[in-house]
C-alpha cells in the first residue's frame, strides 16, 4: 500500500487535515516555503488543493486503466457503525405494545382464576401490567412472537390452557407436583403454553423459576466451574445463575418478600439469620462467585418442608437441550452430561419427581421444534408416555386399550440415554395442536378489532386462514393473516 501523500509533500496538508483547520496564526507562506526543497518556491496552490481541501492524487499524466468508469462515487459518510452487541440487542428486543394499533374495548385483564375457568375458553384476555413486568423479568416473551403488533399484550385462552391451569391448580390443592412436558409441532404455541402457565402461577402468588432458553445452559456459552466436594463432580454456572437469581428476584419480589428463612446458612459469606425475607437472601448474591451457594440456599429454603411456603413453578423452554450430553468438557477433556451441571440437575430431579415441593407446584418443560438437537431417548420417552395416556383414556372410554401401540426401543440403536429415560419415566405429556375454529375465530376477531387484520371475520375467512395454517396452527395463522403483506 502506498502512502497517501508522497514524501515530497510532507509539508502540505495531508488528506485528513483540511487546509482551513491549520492554525490561523501561522503565516501561510512560512508553512509553504520549506527551507530545503527542489520544487518551485511558489507552487500554484489552486491546482494543488481541490475545492474540498483534498490534494490531488499524484498520478502520472497520460492514459491509465480505469475500471468501472461509470460507477457512482461512494458516499463517504455512512454514519456510526453499530457497537458490539448492538445488532443483537436490536434483533432480540421485545416490544410489547404498538401505539398505532386500535385499543380493543372488550378486552379484559386476566384475573387469578381466569385461566382455569372453562367459561373463558376461546376468549382473548389481556395481561395486566404487573404481570407483564413479571413475565418480562423472567424472559417469558420471545422476540419471534407477535406482541409488538397490538396495543397491549393479550393471550388466547385455549382448551389446553384451561386444562393445564386446572391440572396445576389440582396439584397445588393436593400439595403434589405436576410434572408435565408440553410438546407439539412447530409454532403450535408451546412456549405460549409455558407463558400462560407462568401467568397463572404469578397471578396465584407462586414462585416461578423460569429458564427461558435451555440451550444457554448446555452449549458452553456461559462460564462453568466444578463444585468442590461433589462426587461425581458437578458443575455450577455462576454467571448464568447470577442472572437467573436476579430475574427470580425481580419477578417474584412480592412473594419472596413475604416468605422468610427458617434455617441458618453458615456456608454463605454474608450472614443470613433465620426469619430473613427470602428477597434479602436472593439479594445476597452480588457477584457470580457467590451466586451458586445463594441459589442453593434459596432453593433449600423454598423446598423446606413444614414451613409456610408458596407453591413453586419450575419451567424451562427447549427441553431437548438439557436432555443430551452438553458441550462442556471436564478437566479430563471428556464431555459432561447435561445432568452433571448442577442447575440442570436440579431441574431434571424436579421433573423426574425426586423433589418434594412443600406446598406443591409444577415442573413444566416445553420442547422446541426449531433449533433442537436430536435426543432419541427423549423423543421415545415422550412418545411412550403419550401412548400410555391414550391407552388410559381408551380404557376410561370403554374402548380396547390394546389398540394403541406403545413404541418400544430400537434394540439395534446405541444412542439412548438412561439418565434421560429415568427423568422422563413418569411425566405427563401435553400435546399442543392447532386451535379449533371457535378459538381461531376469537383470535381473528381480536386481530380485526386491533386493526391488524383488514377483513371481515366470518365463517369463510376463518376457515380459509384455518386451512392455510394447516388446521389452525397458531403461528401459521399469524403468518397467513398478519405477517403476509396484502395490498
Amino acid at each position: 500500500m502506498s502512502a497517501p501523500n508522497c514524501l515530497r509533500c510532507l509539508l502540505r496538508p495531508s488528506a485528513g487535515i483540511p487546509v482551513s483547520s491549520l492554525p490561523r496564526s501561522t503565516p501561510f507562506a512560512l508553512v509553504r516555503a520549506a527551507p530545503f526543497t527542489t520544487t518551485t518556491a511558489n507552487p500554484r496552490p489552486k491546482k494543488e488543493a481541490q475545492a474540498d481541501g483534498k490534494p490531488k492524487n499524484h498520478t502520472r499524466a497520460g492514459k491509465k486503466l480505469k475500471l468501472g468508469k461509470f460507477k457512482k462515487e461512494k458516499v463517504g459518510d455512512r454514519g456510526r457503525p453499530p457497537l458490539p452487541g448492538e445488532r443483537k440487542a436490536y434483533r432480540k428486543r421485545i416490544t410489547l405494545s404498538n401505539d398505532n394499533a386500535i385499543p380493543v374495548p372488550w378486552l379484559t385483564d386476566l384475573g387469578s382464576a381466569d385461566l382455569a375457568n372453562p367459561a373463558n375458553m376461546a376468549r382473548v384476555m389481556a395481561l395486566p401490567v404487573e404481570l407483564q413486568d413479571q413475565l418480562r423479568a423472567s424472559e417469558a416473551f420471545k422476540p419471534t412472537q407477535c406482541w409488538g403488533m397490538f396495543r397491549k399484550p393479550a393471550v388466547l385462552v385455549r382448551k389446553e390452557t384451561v386444562d393445564l391451569a386446572n391440572r396445576m391448580q389440582n396439584a397445588v390443592d393436593k400439595r403434589q407436583t405436576l410434572r408435565l412436558v408440553v410438546t407439539g409441532d412447530k409454532v403450535t404455541g408451546k412456549s405460549m403454553m409455558v407463558l400462560q402457565a407462568m401467568a397463572h402461577a404469578y397471578l396465584n402468588n407462586w414462585v416461578v423459576i423460569h429458564i427461558p432458553e435451555a440451550q444457554e445452559l448446555t452449549t458452553a456459552c456461559t462460564e462453568y466451574a466444578p463444585i468442590p466436594n461433589t462426587d461425581p463432580v458437578q458443575y455450577m454456572q455462576p454467571v448464568y445463575v447470577l442472572k437467573l437469581l436476579q430475574a427470580i428476584k425481580r419477578a417474584n419480589e412480592n412473594v419472596l418478600a413475604r416468605t422468610y428463612t427458617v434455617n441458618p446458612h453458615p456456608e454463605l459469606s454474608q450472614s443470613v439469620p433465620p426469619n430473613t425475607p427470602l428477597l434479602a437472601l436472593a439479594n445476597a448474591a452480588k457477584e457470580p462467585d457467590a451466586a451458586w451457594p445463594v441459589f442453593q440456599a434459596l432453593w433449600s429454603e423454598l423446598t423446606t418442608q413444614g414451613a409456610n411456603r408458596p407453591p413453586i413453578l419450575l419451567s424451562v423452554d427447549g427441553l431437548a437441550h438439557i436432555m443430551k450430553i452438553s458441550d462442556y468438557r471436564s478437566p479430563a477433556f471428556d464431555l459432561i452430561h447435561s445432568h452433571d451441571l448442577a442447575l440442570v440437575r436440579l431441574f431434571a430431579d424436579a421433573l423426574g419427581g425426586a423433589v418434594q415441593l412443600p406446598s406443591g407446584g409444577a415442573v413444566i418443560a416445553a420442547t422446541a421444534r426449531n433449533n433442537a438437537p436430536r435426543t432419541p431417548s427423549m423423543e421415545l420417552a415422550l412418545a411412550q408416555r403419550e401412548a400410555e395416556q391414550a391407552r388410559a383414556e381408551a380404557q376410561a372410554n370403554g374402548l380396547d386399550p390394546n389398540a394403541v401401540e406403545v413404541p418400544q426401543k430400537d434394540p439395534f440403536f446405541r444412542g439412548y440415554d438412561d439418565r434421560v429415560e429415568a427423568v422422563l419415566r413418569s411425566v405427563q405429556v401435553l400435546r399442543v395442536r392447532g386451535v379449533d375454529k371457535l378459538e381461531a375465530r376469537a383470535l381473528m376477531e381480536y386481530w380485526a378489532a386491533s386493526g391488524m387484520l383488514r377483513a371481515t371475520v366470518d365463517e369463510k375467512t376463518v376457515t380459509e386462514k384455518w386451512t392455510l395454517a394447516g388446521s389452525g396452527v397458531l403461528g401459521e395463522m399469524e403468518r397467513a393473516a398478519l405477517l403476509t403483506m396484502r395490498i
Binding site: D185, K437, K460, E464, W466, L468, G470, S471, V473, A480
Partner: protein, 317 residues
C-alpha cells in the same frame, strides 16, 4: 331433332352409354388412370412390366366425321367442358364454392341457432384444403367460403337438409378434436371425487369430499407440506375462488417437481374434483384460471448457450 341433339351433346361430353351402350370404366380404373405411372415406382432403366393387373383403356375417341353422318350439326361441334370453372385456376374449389353459395341462398330463410350453441366443428385449414383438393386455393376465397360454411352450419340441426350436411362434410377436418370428451368424473360411494392435475413435472391426485376445510397433502397438513404461504394459497385456490373452502375436505397425493409445481398441480386437481361435485362452478373456475392445464415445461438447453437462452459470459479473447 331435339333428341338427336341431346344424344349428340352427351356423346361429346363422354357419356358413352347412351351413345354406344358401353359401360363406363370402373371407379378403380379411373383412379389408376389418373396416376402418372401405373402405381408402383420403378426406375426408368427397368423394363416395364409385361402386363399390369388393371387394363387401362382410354376413352374412345370421338370421331366427328362419323358423328356428322348421323347428326349434321356435328360438323360445327367443338369440345366444351362440363363446368365453366374448367378454365379457372381452381376448378374443383370453385365448383364447390358455387354449390355452397347456391345452398346458402336456397336455405337462407331456415332458422338458425346462435353460434355458441351450434355443434363445435373444426374446419379444414387452408393448407389442408389445398392438399385435399390439390389446387392452389387463394386465402381470400377460402375466407369467404368459410363464412358461407359457418352460416350454413348455423342452420338449426333439426331442420338442416341432408344436402347441406353432405356439402359441409367436405370441408370438415378428418379428425374432430371436439368429439373427444373427457369421461365425467364419478363420485364414489364414499362421496369422493378424484381429480388429477399436472403442472410442470408434478402430478397431483386430489380426493375431494364434503367436509369442513381440512386439507391433507401426502399425509401432512397444508402448513407442514408447503413452507410458503403463497404455495398453500395456490393449492386451495380453486376452493377459495368459489367460496367453497369451508365446504369440502381434501386428501391429496402429489409427486414430482418442486413446491410451486406441486401446489399448482393441486389447484388443477382440486378444481376438477370440485367440478365433479358441482358442474355449475366450471365457468367460475375457468375465470379463476383453474381449469386449463398450463402446458409450459422446462425449455430445453441449446448448444452454444449456458441454459436455454442464457448466453455465455463475454470474454475479450
Amino acid at each position: 331433332m331435339a333428341s338427336s341433339r341431346q344424344g349428340f351433346t352427351s356423346a361429346l361430353r363422354g357419356v358413352t352409354r347412351t351413345l354406344n351402350g358401353k359401360r363406363p370404366p370402373p371407379l378403380e380404373q379411373q383412379f389408376w388412370s389418373l396416376r402418372l405411372n401405373g402405381g408402383s415406382r420403378r426406375l426408368s432403366t427397368e423394363p416395364a412390366p409385361a402386363e399390369t393387373s388393371l387394363s387401362i383403356t382410354a376413352a374412345e375417341e370421338i370421331d366427328i366425321k362419323q358423328l356428322a353422318k348421323r347428326y349434321r350439326i356435328a360438323q360445327h361441334a367443338r369440345a366444351v367442358p362440363v363446368s365453366a370453372s374448367y378454365f379457372s385456376r381452381t376448378p374443383t374449389f370453385n365448383d364447390r364454392y358455387l354449390a355452397l353459395d347456391k345452398l346458402a341462398r336456397t336455405y337462407s330463410n331456415l332458422p338458425v341457432v346462435p353460434p355458441a350453441d351450434a355443434e363445435q366443428v373444426v374446419w379444414k385449414s387452408l393448407p389442408d384444403l389445398r392438399r385435399s383438393i390439390g389446387e392452389p386455393v387463394k386465402a381470400t376465397d377460402y375466407v369467404n367460403c368459410l363464412a358461407i360454411l359457418k352460416r350454413l352450419h348455423q342452420i338449426h340441426p333439426d331442420l338442416k337438409p341432408d344436402i347441406v350436411k353432405e356439402a359441409l362434410e367436405d370441408f370438415k377436418r378428418d379428425v374432430q378434436g371436439f368429439l373427444n370428451r373427457p369421461a365425467p368424473i364419478p363420485i364414489d360411494k364414499f362421496g369422493r371425487a378424484l381429480g388429477v392435475g399436472k403442472r410442470k413435472s408434478s402430478t397431483a391426485r386430489a380426493f375431494v369430499v364434503e367436509g369442513d376445510g381440512q386439507v391433507l397433502v401426502n399425509g401432512k397438513t397444508l402448513a407442514d407440506y408447503f413452507g410458503r404461504v403463497h404455495d398453500r394459497e395456490s393449492a386451495v385456490w380453486a376452493l377459495h375462488a368459489t367460496d367453497r373452502i369451508d365446504k369440502y375436505n381434501v386428501w391429496a397425493r402429489v409427486e414430482g417437481g418442486g413446491t410451486t409445481g406441486q401446489a399448482e398441480a393441486l389447484t388443477l386437481a382440486i378444481a376438477k374434483a370440485l367440478i365433479a361435485h358441482e358442474p355449475a362452478l366450471k365457468p367460475a373456475l375457468r375465470k379463476a384460471g383453474c381449469v386449463t392445464r398450463d402446458p409450459r415445461r422446462v425449455e430445453r438447453k441449446k448448444h452454444g448457450r449456458v441454459k436455454a437462452r442464457k448466453g455465455p459470459t463475454w470474454v475479450k479473447r
